[in-house]
């Protein structure tokens, strides 16, 4: 069964919508700076969005506001609106920040036994990301928030694919969202993997990641629903693979076997071979470990000439949003026919022996992959294609 991508939406430091984002990619602008959203003694550069839109209703969590921005854009792109209630619509979104009661004011008051505002607790209890988005757009269907750390967004898309294939819903809204927050900033700083300069994914001199914030969302539909709606999709979600390292809580498996397994599963589902892949949007956090392992797995499976990039050079590491944003960027690139330079890369690392693309690069192939690796050892890979599988189940290779 083919699952179509009929709408995409994104908000990040690179732009409040996909059009702005693509413009930022073309210009090579990197909107990075000091934290301004909250006060912190840490001076790591971050990719903040700034004001999103007006005052959020009822003290809505920023992560939910970001998600709704991307969801609105994706639904508009899909031509879905007043007809949503006619369908069973699933909502599956990944996050890290929104799942925790990280309200520092609440906790300080609790600790010092001062009166605590129930409002913080209520905000949290109403703030499950998928539940809140489902309520806001008034849909009925399965609803799950994925909390798989840095692969949450990709895994949420994988869940939606499973739902659609098994007929649990007709349409799914899937991706991820995360706001910039003091808690992960402190945590990642303590882990020693934040860079005090702008991140340089895959570069020989990379020193770590920069945190960012954003939301990236896909609208996914079965082909049957597309036909019913008179929608002729261009893009398809063709495969998803997920595998656990089962190795360590924070360090990835050095041999990359988990990532390799996820990639091979995704390609198997899409019925493609390595030579069919025209580019990869890598996880590419700019930490020494991640980029080395990811690069070596790419070299092993795809060879040294594979086009790949990390978009984290433009948006930072957006944690739960990353997989969603990167799926959107991958879909957008297939649609537009180009990928941007891998921002921040200058010198090849001799331990990786691969270089991401150094400039805007046209792409003409039909299949692309987005990879995500997470703390806890989750590895995810998504295949997006231009054009569906043919009736026999094999990919309609058509003209490249």
């Amino acid at each position: 069964m083919n699952v179509a991508i009929t709408g995409i939406g994104a908000v990040s430091a690179a732009g409040r919508n996909l059009e702005e984002t693509l413009d930022t990619f073309q210009q090579g602008n990197r909107n990075v700076g000091a934290v301004s959203l909250f006060s912190t003694s840490l001076s790591y550069p971050v990719f903040e969005i700034g004001e999103i839109r007006g005052e959020a209703p009822d003290g809505e969590m920023r992560t939910i506001t970001l998600a709704l921005c991307a969801v609105e854009e994706a639904l508009l792109d899909a031509g879905l609106g007043s007809d949503l209630p006619d369908f069973r619509v699933g909502v599956c979104l990944g996050t890290t920040v929104a799942s925790q009661l990280n309200d520092m004011d609440f906790y300080r008051n609790y600790r010092s036994k001062e009166p605590v505002s129930i409002r913080s607790i209520d905000r949290y209890l109403k703030g499950n990301l998928a539940e809140a988005v489902g309520r806001a757009i008034k849909v009925r269907g399965p609803s799950v928030t994925v909390v798989n750390a840095c692969s949450s967004g990709a895994d949420a898309i994988g869940v939606a694919l499973s739902w659609l294939r098994s007929g649990v819903c007709d349409i799914a809204i899937a991706g991820g969202a995360d706001e910039l927050s003091q808690v992960p900033l402190c945590g990642f700083g303590a882990l020693g993997i934040l860079s005090d300069s702008i991140c340089a994914p895959f570069d020989r001199d990379r020193k770590g990641l920069n945190l960012g914030e954003g939301a990236g969302v896909l609208v996914l539909e079965s082909e049957e629903v597309c036909r019913e709606r008179g929608k002729a999709p261009l893009l398809y979600l063709s495969g998803y693979g997920s595998a656990a390292d089962a190795y360590h809580l924070t360090a990835p498996r050095p041999d990359g076997s988990g990532l390799e397994a996820a990639l091979r599963r995704a390609m198997f589902e899409a019925n493609i071979h390595a030579q069919d892949v025209c580019f990869i949007n890598a996880h590419g956090t700019a930490t020494p470990d991640n980029d080395k392992i990811e690069g070596s797995v790419f070299r092993k499976i795809f060879g040294r000439d594979i086009n790949f990039l990390s978009s984290k050079g433009f948006v930072g590491h957006t944690l739960g949003a990353a997989g969603g944003l990167e799926a959107v960027f991958t879909a957008g690139a297939l649609r537009e026919g180009w990928i941007p330079a891998s921002a921040g890369f200058v010198h090849q690392d001799d331990e990786i022996l691969l270089s991401p693309v150094r400039e805007k690069t046209p792409i003409t192939g039909r299949f692309a992959i987005s990879t995500s690796l997470a703390f806890g050892g989750n590895n995810a890979a998504i295949v997006i294609s231009r054009g569906p599988m043919n009736e026999s189940g094999a990919q309609d290779r058509g003209s490249a």
């Binding site: 303590a190 882990l191 020693g192 360590h248 809580l249 924070t250 360090a251």
Partner: protein, 93 residues
């Protein structure tokens, strides 16, 4: 932070051993049983990369000393002795 009088190397060794056992939740070993020259990582105590960054924070928090990078850490973290010596050398008089 520490008292004004500089601690002895022996005191620092003892403190470090207690910090390691408590903060890294080491099982089946008391501070007294940790060998001064025993390897902290891989063989010996068998600490890993997460323990390494935890020790960086412990040193910062308890002695006000910052370990700048991984290279430096690798040299200092060989054993309790190398760690204690570095702390002792860098603590203000």
């Amino acid at each position: 932070m520490q008292s004004q009088e500089k601690k002895s190397l022996e005191e620092i060794r003892k403190e470090l051993k207690e910090l390691l056992v408590v903060n890294l939740a080491l099982e089946d070993i008391t501070p007294e049983e940790i060998e001064d020259d025993g390897a902290l990582f891989e063989e010996g105590l068998g600490l890993d990369s997460l323990d390494a960054v935890e020790i960086v924070v412990l040193i910062q928090r308890n002695y006000g000393l910052e370990i700048i990078d991984e290279e430096q850490a690798r040299e200092i973290f060989l054993s309790v002795n190398t760690l204690a010596s570095w702390v002792h050398d860098n603590l203000g008089d």
